[in-house]
Every structure is written in structure tokens, then in C-alpha cells.
């Protein structure tokens, strides 16, 4: 090889290397921007009250403490009594944790059950016509505030009035776990249908056909042939819907008040406390809400695109 060619190759290599470095540094830079707010929340959750708003702010807590976590996780609110300072009061978040878990799990499970059968019907028999696949998008695109006001009227006025005239006692869906679950099932059903459609479409119809010819009934085929093949898809769909419900804020803020409270609503309540903002416990709750969801999300990240883009993009 001549020296000229060698030099040219060297220059090209160097240029390629430089380009790679630029790309990696841009990506790392954006990665730092992404991680910074999360890092700040986690480190605040280990700070004691006097460190929350110091100037200049401390990037690492100087005397790290678990106080914030103790404060939000204490069981015996009565025993410890009411503290003089708001920053030392115990806050019991277990009620909200239970509400959140019950509402999110039951609604995701029921939506999954219904959505899987619906998706099967749409995939195999084209129920609702070809347009159905796009028309499910509508429910997702309507701003939640538009359905929040009708639902408030419905849950808090019409259901009690109707039950009083028909059944003789007042029954309200407002501020109940049942009402919230019902609502979440309805608004997440399009997601379930979309995600399950893409999984069921991948199961070849010939398999089912073979089972049918060998004498299996329709339900038997569904249970023994299709279900095992889409089981992992169902887990992914469940987790995705669970995450959506877990993060939902507007509807749970507007349709629950004193009794039921999901975790995002609880986090918001700390802010409007009359004592000023309690940054430490808020950060602790934020960490507790976020970490499990991020872990679940990372586990199913390959499939997130299906849910978030409503199957308009396939991977």
C-alpha cells in the first residue's frame, strides 16, 4: 500500500472515530439531563428538614437520614401523637398504597380479560369492520377533563338519585374503589385491544385450524392453543395498563376526595398543605411511586411502542 493511501485511510478512520465520539457525547449529555431530576428527587428524599431549601443546594445530603421514609411509612399514627412541627408529623400512606394497588390491579385484570376476547374476535372475524382498529384511538385522544365533568355528574348525582328511586337506598360511585376501577377499565380497554391484537395477529390461524379439525371445540382451542401462545403478550399488556393506571392523575383527583386516594393524588395533597411544602416526604413518596414502575417499564420496554403508538408502528 502506498503511503498516500495509508494516510487517506488514517484520516478517514480518525474522522469516523471523531464522529462516534460526538454521537456518544450527545447521547450521554441527554442521558444526564434525563437522570438529573430523578437523581435530585432521590437525594432529597434522604435529606432532613433543614437541608431541603438551603442555598447553595447540597448535591449530596450532608447528614443522610431515613426520617422521610419513616414518616410516610409509620403504621401507628395515634401512638406517636401529633407532633408540634409539621415536618415531624407521621403521614400514613398505606391507605393510598392499598387503594392504588387494588384499583390498578383489578381494573387491569378485568380490562385484560375483556380486551383479550375482543381482540381475538377482531383479529379472527374482523368484528366491527376494518375501521374499528383506528376508531378505538378516539377514546385515547379525548382529553380526560372532558369526560371528568360528565363522570362527576354521573357518579355523584345520577347514580345516587337513580338507586334511591329504584332500590330505595343511596348508592354512590363517587369516591369509591369500584367507581374508579370501572372507569379505568373503560379507558384502558382500547390499549388492551390494540396490544392484544398485535400479539394475536402473530399466532398463525393454521394452528387453530388444525386443532379444530382434530375435534377441539372453539373454547378449548382458545384455551389450549391460542392462550399459551399469547401468554407472554398478556403479561406485557397487563404491566403496561397497570403502569398507565398507576400514573393516572386527573380523573382520580377529580373523582375521589376524602375516602379513596391514589398515590399521585396523595403526592399532590402534600403540596397544598397549609404548613408549606414538605419537600422531603414528597420526595420519598415520589421515589416509592416511581422506582417499581420504572423497573417494570424497563422490563417491557420492547413492547412499549405498541401500546404508546396504538399499533400504528410495528416493530
Amino acid at each position: 500500500m502506498s503511503t498516500d493511501a495509508k494516510q487517506a485511510l488514517q484520516i478517514a478512520n480518525r474522522r469516523r472515530w471523531r464522529r462516534t465520539v460526538v454521537r456518544h457525547s450527545i447521547l450521554i449529555g441527554w442521558g444526564l439531563i434525563i437522570m438529573f431530576p430523578i437523581f435530585w428527587m432521590i437525594q432529597t428524599s434522604f435529606k432532613d428538614a433543614h437541608e431541603w431549601v438551603t442555598w447553595p443546594p447540597h448535591w449530596v445530603p450532608q447528614d443522610p437520614t431515613l426520617k422521610n421514609y419513616e414518616q410516610i411509612f409509620t403504621f401507628d399514627v395515634q401512638q406517636s401523637g401529633v407532633a408540634r412541627e409539621a415536618t415531624e408529623q407521621p403521614f400514613n400512606i398505606w391507605g393510598a398504597v392499598a387503594d392504588s394497588l387494588i384499583i390498578c390491579t383489578t381494573s387491569a385484570l378485568i380490562a385484560l380479560f375483556m380486551g383479550a376476547f375482543l381482540a381475538y374476535g377482531i383479529s379472527r372475524f374482523n368484528v366491527g369492520g376494518g375501521k374499528f382498529r383506528h376508531s378505538v384511538l378516539i377514546i385515547r385522544m379525548i382529553p380526560p377533563i372532558v369526560i371528568a365533568i360528565p363522570l362527576l355528574m354521573y357518579y355523584a348525582i345520577m347514580v345516587p338519585l337513580a338507586s334511591e328511586t329504584v332500590l330505595g337506598f343511596r348508592l354512590s360511585l363517587f369516591d369509591t374503589q369500584f367507581g374508579m376501577s370501572l372507569l379505568y377499565i373503560t379507558i384502558t380497554l382500547p390499549f388492551v385491544i390494540w396490544m392484544m391484537l398485535s400479539f394475536i395477529d402473530e399466532v398463525p390461524y393454521t394452528l387453530e385450524h388444525a386443532a379444530r379439525i382434530m375435534g377441539a371445540g372453539r373454547l378449548y382451542t382458545l384455551r389450549r392453543v391460542v392462550l399459551p401462545l399469547v401468554a407472554s403478550g398478556m403479561v406485557v399488556t397487563f404491566l403496561f395498563v397497570f403502569i398507565l393506571n398507576w400514573a393516572e392523575f386527573l380523573l382520580s383527583l377529580t373523582l375521589t376526595h376524602p375516602d379513596v386516594s391514589t398515590l399521585p393524588v396523595l403526592l399532590n395533597k402534600f403540596q397544598s398543605a397549609s404548613e408549606g411544602r414538605l419537600y422531603g416526604p414528597q420526595a420519598a413518596i415520589g421515589t416509592v411511586i416511581t422506582i417499581p414502575v420504572v423497573v417494570l417499564g424497563v422490563l417491557i420496554q420492547k413492547h412499549l411502542i405498541k401500546g404508546f403508538s396504538f399499533g400504528t408502528i410495528r416493530k
Partner: protein, 287 residues
């Protein structure tokens, strides 16, 4: 069964809302005693400058946020597409914001914008040069507060546009690009004349989905500013929430939400039409 549920949860409430929107009713009076008032609520919504201002502001927020999300997401996807090593690592990191609960994201940014927060600390050396007190209250200035909310939205949802563009890039057929290269097209020409047209479906989908989601903006407003200072950061969702849940103007809220639904229906059908056209192009094999 499912149709029944949609009727129970969506149709009946809407019928009820339309009825209530014709009533003259506030929370200080029992529902049974309210009387019909015709179209008065609709008239007051149309005459209400707060409603239209907040609607305009919502479009402004959504537009600004979506433009930045598209640009940043596109370039990040391009970068990840071009590197070979550590791709999975970067994808995992870049997708995290999407999974953070929006309320928590709003809370995180409220800590960052504090007058004694890290943002001011980072800016302090520069600000000291000009003799400005570095402890700026970002959320007390109307324009800064608006951009604070837009930035929080960009932080969280750039990962979605990134994801859509990334799958668009990885679906590009290598044969076409190689063919263009062999025929003598430069790198830049290949990008603008071959790759970009092929990415059109991904771009349209990202624009439609993100715009529709951004128009719902509510959580960061509550967590960061409560619509303030003044009304400078009220989005339409926040405005209606305040009217109904803080001021108890139920029939006004009902009329406004019906009007909002009509406005949004037009947008939604337009968006679905756009996506549907791209979807057909995908099925025909053009993309």
C-alpha cells in the same frame, strides 16, 4: 357486554352532561330544584375570555413542546441509529422519562426551579458576572413559568418521539439506501431524498399522537404553578377543573366541556384521518 359498558360509562354521562348544561345550577342548590335556562350557559362560555385564552394557551404550549420533542427526538434516534456499541444501554436510559409518573415528574421540576434549586446554582456563576441575584424565582414570572411547564413536558415526552423515530429508522430497508449510495448519491443526498421520505409515516404518527397528548396537559400545571402567576399558565384542562372543582360552576363546566368535546372531535378526526392514510401507505408497502 363491552358495548354496554361503554354506554354505561361514556354515553349516559354525556347525555346527562348535555342536560345539565341547559340547567341553571350551582352547588349551592340541590340538583332537583335547578331549572332550565336554555342556551344561557353556552352563551356565557362563548363570552368567557378565560375559556378562550386558556384554549389558545393550550395550543401554544402543545405546539412549542411538540416542535422541540420532534426535533430532539429525531436527532437522538438518528444518533442511536448510527452508533453500534451500547445501543441497548442508551435506549434503556432514554426511555426512562416516559415511565416516570407525570405527577412525580412535575414535582421533580418544581424542586429544580426553586429559588434555591440546582438550576439557579448552575446558572449562578454566569449571573454573578452581570450582578444579578442568582436566586431567581422562575415560577413567579409568567413567561418563565410557561416555559418551565413546556420544558417539563419536553423532558418527559421526548422519549416517546425518540421511540417512534427509532422504530422508523430501524424499519428502513437497507437495499434502497445501498442502491442510492451505489448510484453515487452522497450521504447527505441519501438522507434527504431517500431516508426522510421513507420516514414520513413515523413523522406523521409522532406529530399526531404527541399533539393530541400534549393538548391534554394538566398534571405539570397543577404540580408546578397552579395556573399562576395570574392566569398565565392555565391550560384549558386546568381552567375547567378550577371552574368546576374550585368554584363549583357545574352547569358552566358542563357546557364548556361539551364545547371542548366538539372542538376536539374535529381535531381527533383530522388526526385519525392522517394516521389512517399513513397506515394504508404502510400496508400497500410504500413505506
Amino acid at each position: 357486554m363491552v358495548e354496554g359498558m361503554f354506554i354505561l360509562i361514556l354515553i349516559i354521562p354525556f347525555a346527562l352532561t348535555i342536560y345539565i348544561s341547559f340547567l341553571r345550577w350551582r352547588a349551592n342548590r340541590p340538583f332537583e330544584q335547578a331549572y332550565l335556562s336554555g342556551l344561557r350557559n353556552y352563551e356565557s362560555v362563548i363570552a368567557d375570555s378565560g375559556f378562550w385564552d386558556s384554549l389558545g394557551r393550550t395550543f401554544y404550549f402543545a405546539g412549542a413542546a411538540v416542535v422541540f420533542e420532534l426535533i430532539i427526538g429525531f436527532f437522538l434516534a438518528l444518533m442511536v441509529h448510527q452508533i453500534t456499541r451500547g445501543r441497548r444501554f442508551y435506549i434503556t436510559i432514554l426511555l426512562i422519562p416516559m415511565m416516570v409518573v407525570p405527577v412525580v415528574a412535575g414535582y421533580n421540576f418544581s424542586m429544580i426551579y426553586l429559588d434555591s434549586g440546582p438550576l439557579n446554582q448552575i446558572l449562578a456563576p454566569g449571573l454573578n458576572l452581570f450582578d444579578i441575584n442568582p436566586r431567581i424565582r422562575w415560577l413567579s414570572n409568567p413567561i418563565a413559568a410557561q416555559w418551565a411547564i413546556i420544558l417539563a413536558d419536553i423532558w418527559q415526552w421526548t422519549s416517546l418521539t425518540f421511540l417512534i423515530f427509532l422504530s422508523g429508522f430501524s424499519a428502513l430497508p437497507p437495499q434502497l439506501i445501498n442502491a442510492a449510495r451505489v448510484m453515487g448519491a452522497s450521504r447527505r443526498q441519501t438522507f434527504f431524498w431517500v431516508e426522510l421520505p421513507l420516514l414520513k409515516p413515523a413523522i406523521v404518527i409522532a406529530v399526531v399522537i404527541r399533539s393530541m397528548e400534549a393538548l391534554k396537559m394538566f398534571d405539570p400545571v397543577v404540580l408546578l404553578t397552579f395556573g399562576g402567576p395570574g392566569t398565565s399558565t392555565q391550560t384549558v384542562a386546568y381552567y375547567l377543573w378550577e371552574q368546576v372543582w374550585q368554584f363549583n360552576k357545574y352547569s358552566f363546566g358542563a357546557a364548556a366541556s361539551i364545547m371542548l368535546l366538539i372542538i376536539f372531535s374535529v381535531l381527533i378526526f383530522f388526526g385519525i384521518y392522517l394516521i389512517g392514510r399513513q397506515g394504508k401507505a404502510i400496508e400497500r408497502g410504500e413505506a
